[in-house]
Symmetry: C2
């Protein structure tokens, strides 16, 4: 049983947090690899990252892939997310928990920006 | 003369700001639509958004497209970026300045996440 936890910053603006939750739901419908797709927030929204991981494990996950939904490898990606994840890794040594590169790491970003700026069609 | 201004949050971590600057440079090499591609930061890094716009105008831009390099439409996208851009629009009524939707608005995001999570190839 494999889970995907999409980790976002979290916002005071509820619609912004709901965007992330809807994204998780959308992926949940499309994925063939993950049995459960969930979201977690670093700040300002629920569930927290540790609680999101606990939710996945409570659903029976033996493997959880944590995906930092961040564009730049700032302090949140480099320090804060691992600091939230590490205690859960220690607490559940039998569960395989991994963190992927952050979203901005993807090579498609220049094309995505040009698309938004009206130049390129996907 | 048309400019693209990529607007990011800005980070205390210099490497993160450099990622955004490198992205602007990368787009600059690929674009056929924009004569000048620049970056601007909401906080913690230079140039600020107003200064980034001024830089574009000083280079001769008659049109500037502002692209919020943000994943979720939180307060920064909905309020803070327009609040930085509006005074420049008022200052230069002869320059056409527009703000595109934020990056997270793109329909490719679910595929991008599944790609990072190891499921989908682009």
């Amino acid at each position: 049983m494999k889970s995907l936890l999409i980790v976002a910053h979290g916002s005071r603006r509820q619609a912004s947090n709901d965007e992330v939750r809807q994204l998780a739901e959308c992926i949940s419908k499309q994925t063939e690899e993950f049995d459960f797709v969930h979201s977690g927030f670093l700040e300002l929204a629920d569930p927290s990252i540790p609680q999101g991981l606990e939710d996945c494990i409570a659903k029976g996950a033996k493997e959880v892939v944590v995906m930092p939904y961040f564009l730049a490898a700032g302090r949140h990606v480099v320090e804060d997310i691992p600091a939230e994840v590490d205690p859960i890794i220690e607490k559940y040594p039998q569960i395989q928990i991994t963190i992927t590169p952050h979203l901005g790491h993807l090579q498609i970003m220049p094309q995505a920006i040009m698309h938004l700026a009206g130049e390129t069609k996907f």
